[in-house]
Symmetry: C2
Subunit: 661 residues, 2 copies
């Protein structure tokens, strides 16, 4: 009981802190709070532009949604009788620039709130902060009195979305942008082409999308609409056209670009493939000049991502023409040839007014120092690049398809590990990072649940001061953000039940949910080892529905740590008894038969946990044989089965070890 | 254990029956099943029209959604290699007519399915039935082999939606139509005006919507769009303009229509009000002639609903002019005056080619026999009307705001009770019924959860043979329909968690959900007695979020009945312990403080239930004093508190009585 009381107390104290995420640079809490009711009004003063008007209208609609209070979404420029006064000093860049001033200051008193910022970007961020401050308090919805001064730690806070492997319609992109804005991410990295699909309309080279996309691509009008939508939310849009590898889908319509004879067809499998642009022919560069020129006009951002990853060089090594070109130009290997290609590409992009960005593999001392390296291989390559004078952003450690926990993602810092030893000047070249959502195992139905709320942990890492790193406090705030994103129109929470219900047609839903609530999907690698997947494989199994991070397993672990016997016992009983109800359901559906073993193991974990509790309670020690048996089983149960991990295994291990000692 | 096994067996057997709802007139199950995979194709033969093409496209998209299998939504008129062949015999009426042929025949074998129907309406219904047949089976998604012959028991199967008291935007109306089509309801009764809002654009009398709606009304273009959307789904649209009472919102812009001097303003409270059109002035009829004429052109349906309910006559009784008119025309009381008004209105509608429909109160032997009476007062007035030769539909017993269970709604039959004694001919005048969603306590956020899935119980009552009345089997199918409606884009399930999360900002969500899962909203009457409500009162409290019928309470009751000790005990422990976690959360939010007493009672119910279990287990009888104490408490706990009912009280009563005997 004392432990439970202490737990409640700590929860109580934590709740006194607002659920801001990312946590601002400076927060000082005051006395009292500003009540929010149907009369809530906003005034915009100082510099004005339509983007700010729209932002305030969205803000008011969301405030109404968040509270359920019918707040009018109109606003006034009259400065009397308003609850929130907004003053923006001056305009921002016409095209949002890396490193633009994003700071803001928000003061909330019991009578009014003031939001000020040098530029519109700061106002956009401050409005998100204000929304996060609002909660139901003792007499009304209210924002607690506080003074917040805020600005980002890193200027480049990105989210990378692969729309090639699985097609993501515009509505998915837009709600992703909504989520990004809510947690102050500011770069949408749009992975528009890959072996499995070419996803944008080219008017110069229409066979790119006509033959390379199964008809699933963005029109240029849609792209412009997305860019405007992003700008409204303070987000830059950086397109990626991955060259010279990952280009199978280009070669379906333009086989003459390839390093080996065609014909080519859209790749349906996952993995690395041979097809590569031919870097030895001038016609390749003429094509890229024209195509990148077209895209450079469409995408206003300063940066242009050309991929450059995972070129295996196989097509080059078997081509006489290419080998002879390499000999003539003294290019000793595939890497040297790719470096040559990149220099040519960089020149093309420079001509079109762009700064080149690419994955680690493009790093080459002969490239100019204004390119940006995105590291997927590890923090070392980022540090190496910085030493050579290149700017870089971190994605290694931020791959959402690895299915790491929010706490793990949160622990990765662009300036830690290999970058820790860099000089101040070198460190300044590390611009930030990008969380990456690759497309093998996501589709429009489940992608939100794979991105959110975990991406918000990275958003905080990239925005907040480096000292903000208490994972427990992160989760407190992440839980709220997860609900708020869903309310904003994302499906990170709401896709779960319908996907589960599909598996049984809604019949006997609870036992299936009991299992689903404590299992997590295996990583990309673990899944590919289990099943043969292609682009056409439906993502309709239990592994596709369950959330990357089991909230219940986390709660259960906390209850085990707190020694909350009643709660621990109740869950263990539930799991122990669940398989008897679930097994007949699993046996009936081809989508679920594979999960029978997982359900059985969960039941046994419940039994083991209860036995361990019982030993503790009776103050007897289990026999060495019992202990050994349980350890063996737990080692097995900790492994991925049916592409699923049972997330409570570590807690059961704790109970067993605690009974054993 | 034997009981549990029997329970599983019965579930297993129940699952062998497909989850069709409404249950068809004739179902014969065959051997094997038709596999559904990405190659699923449909061919349309026989009579074709664009409405059928669109229906098949929607059907295919929903099949893809239901299975997660990427099924193309294109279809073919070539008859080779198709899984589902559809043959429609001939066109239906240009404007859907009451009593049109809605029958269809669906044959599914292991190799293909055939859907045939005389008219498009039958095809639409048959496609819904086919979708409900599909489920995950042992080797694939499949539809079980079966032969279904189907047609409705009643021709009028309606849903009445009040959009006046709370505004419901077009998207709410459209998803309501989607839900109706899914369960074969075929009349959308659109309650477009009432004291609290006039919700449609009149071009003849624009002050109706300009001054009577707070700007929340449908444009005529939107109305046409809704009618087309409904027709695509086999649904007639019957507008209601309630006269002469319930007209406050009309009188804001046109006070000269009133029986007492103005000015008038939109009514914000709930209840019955005095303002009434003046039935004694010719100008009133000139207005109605012009306005109903305009609306008759807009709404193509044969029927036109003029309300007529709840005229209190107060304005008439205090007006010298009206009293003198009544004397002149020998109208002895308000009822007689209203009958006079109705005869005039009927003549106007007849001139515009419409059949008049109204609530019980319009019944008057001097009206022609082609009008239709909608009974809200009880089955007796329906039977009375039928005896007088009037057609009628039942709504009494189908009021969703009474918060009755699906089983209760399901038990109401238009041809039972007072109608049971009618002659065959009289019975034939009872056309069907309408489930009614009044607008006092619903808004776009929670309305779906109030309508669905309960309205589906009424849909089955009105479609299926009268002998189909096993409530337990209804629930089995209703649970699935509930998930499927949500997947179709309704929010009947998905609105729940976000509305709960709002109450605590997402913090400590689970204990709040534990409470919410077993409480139900009080009825309209119970709510109004507790709180002062107006149109502006936010519907953002626990009572607005919780579902009308607790599925968990139903499951718990089944476990109590089955003597499933482990399950019963686990829930009781959860409830017993929940208040300790929840109470501090409730205390913090002004929206939740009122629920503290309910949470405390739930906890005590858990304690009592566990004690009762314990007595049983130890085979001892509780003392008479203990029994008396629990009974007293249970009587109190069964009452509505904070507008909520605790739905497990009857089960706890059972446990206590079982321990006492």
């Amino acid at each position: 009981m004392i432990k439970a009381a202490a737990f409640l107390l700590s929860v109580g104290m934590a709740c006194a802190q607002p659920a801001l995420l990312p946590w601002p640079s400076k927060v000082a809490m005051g006395q009292g709070s500003l009540a929010i009711d149907a009369s809530f009004r906003v005034a915009l003063t100082g510099y004005r532009e339509p983007r700010l008007d729209r932002a305030v209208e969205r803000f008011l609609a969301r405030l109404a949604q968040k509270t359920g209070v019918p707040i009018a979404s109109s606003f006034s420029s009259d400065t009397s009788q308003v609850a929130l006064r907004i003053a923006c000093d001056h305009a921002g860049e016409l095209v949002e620039k890396l490193g633009e001033d994003e700071s803001y200051r928000l003061e909330v008193s019991a009578t009014e709130a003031r939001l000020t910022a040098p530029e519109p970007l700061g106002i956009l961020h401050g409005l998100e902060t204000f929304l996060q401050l609002v909660e139901a308090r003792s007499t009304s919805f209210a924002a607690p009195a506080s003074t917040i001064e805020d600005q980002p730690r890193f200027a480049w806070r990105g989210l990378h979305l692969d729309v090639s492997r699985h097609w993501m319609p515009v509505e998915v992109v837009k709600r992703t942008l909504d989520g990004m804005a809510a947690v102050k991410l500011n770069v949408f990295h749009w992975h528009l082409s890959d072996d499995q699909g070419f996803r944008i309309e080219s008017r110069r080279f229409p066979r790119l999308q006509e033959l390379g996309s199964d008809g699933e691509f963005y029109s240029q009008e849609q792209v412009r609409d997305v860019i405007a939508y992003a700008r409204d939310r303070g987000i830059r849009v950086v397109p990626e056209f991955d060259v010279p590898g990952h280009t199978t889908s280009w070669l379906v319509g333009y086989p003459e670009l390839a390093s080996a004879p065609g014909p080519y067809s859209i790749e349906r499998r996952w993995g690395g493939f041979d097809p590569t642009l031919d870097p030895t022919r001038e016609s390749t560069y003429e094509f890229l000049d024209a195509f990148f020129g077209e895209m450079s006009e469409l995408f206003p951002d300063q940066f242009f991502h050309v991929g450059g990853d995972e070129v295996n060089g196989k097509q080059w090594n078997v081509s006489d023409a290419i080998r002879s070109f390499m000999a003539t130009h003294q290019l000793k290997d595939a890497q040297a040839l790719q470096a040559y290609f990149n220099r040519r590409v960089e020149a093309i992009l420079e001509k079109h007014g762009k700064r080149m960005e690419g994955w680690d593999e493009i790093l080459d001392p002969d490239l100019p120092r204004n390119i940006v390296i995105q590291s997927w291989r590890g923090q070392k390559s980022l540090a190496d690049a910085a030493r050579l004078g290149y700017a870089g952003i971190l994605s290694s450690g931020y791959y959402l398809d690895h299915m790491d926990s929010s706490a793990t993602l949160y622990g990765v810092d662009p300036l830690a590990a290999d970058s820790d030893a860099l000089s101040r000047d070198e460190k300044s070249r590390i611009l930030g990072g990008e969380v990456a959502m690759w497309g093998e195992f996501v589709d429009p139905e489940n992608v939100d649940s794979r991105i959110w709320p975990r991406a918000a942990a990275v958003a905080e890492r990239l925005w907040s001061p480096g000292e903000t790193k208490d994972a427990r406090d992160l989760y407190r705030r992440l839980d709220r953000v997860s609900f708020e994103l869903d309310a904003l129109g994302l499906t990170n929470r709401s896709s779960y039940e319908p996907m589960l219900a599909r598996l049984t047609g809604g019949a006997l839903f609870e036992p299936l949910k009991n299992l689903a609530d404590v299992v997590e999907p295996g990583s990309l690698g673990q899944r590919q080892r289990t099943h043969k997947y292609t682009q056409q494989t439906p993502l309709n199994r239990l592994v596709d529905a369950v959330r990357p991070e089991s909230a219940l397993a986390r709660e259960f672990a906390a209850a085990v740590d707190a020694g909350d016997h009643a709660v621990v016992q109740r869950w263990l009983m539930l799991w122990r008894d669940n398989d008897a109800r679930l097994a007949p359901v699993l046996a009936k559906s081809f989508l679920l038969t594979e999960d029978a073993v997982v359900s059985k193991d969960l039941s046994r974990l419940g039994t083991i946990g209860l036995a361990a509790l019982d030993f503790k309670e009776r103050r007897t020690r289990p026999t060495p044989r019992w202990i050994a048996e349980q350890r063996t089983f737990l080692t097995k149960a900790a492994k991925v089965q049916a592409e699923l991990r049972i997330a409570i295994v570590p807690s059961i291990q704790k109970l067993v070890e605690s009974a054993a000692h």
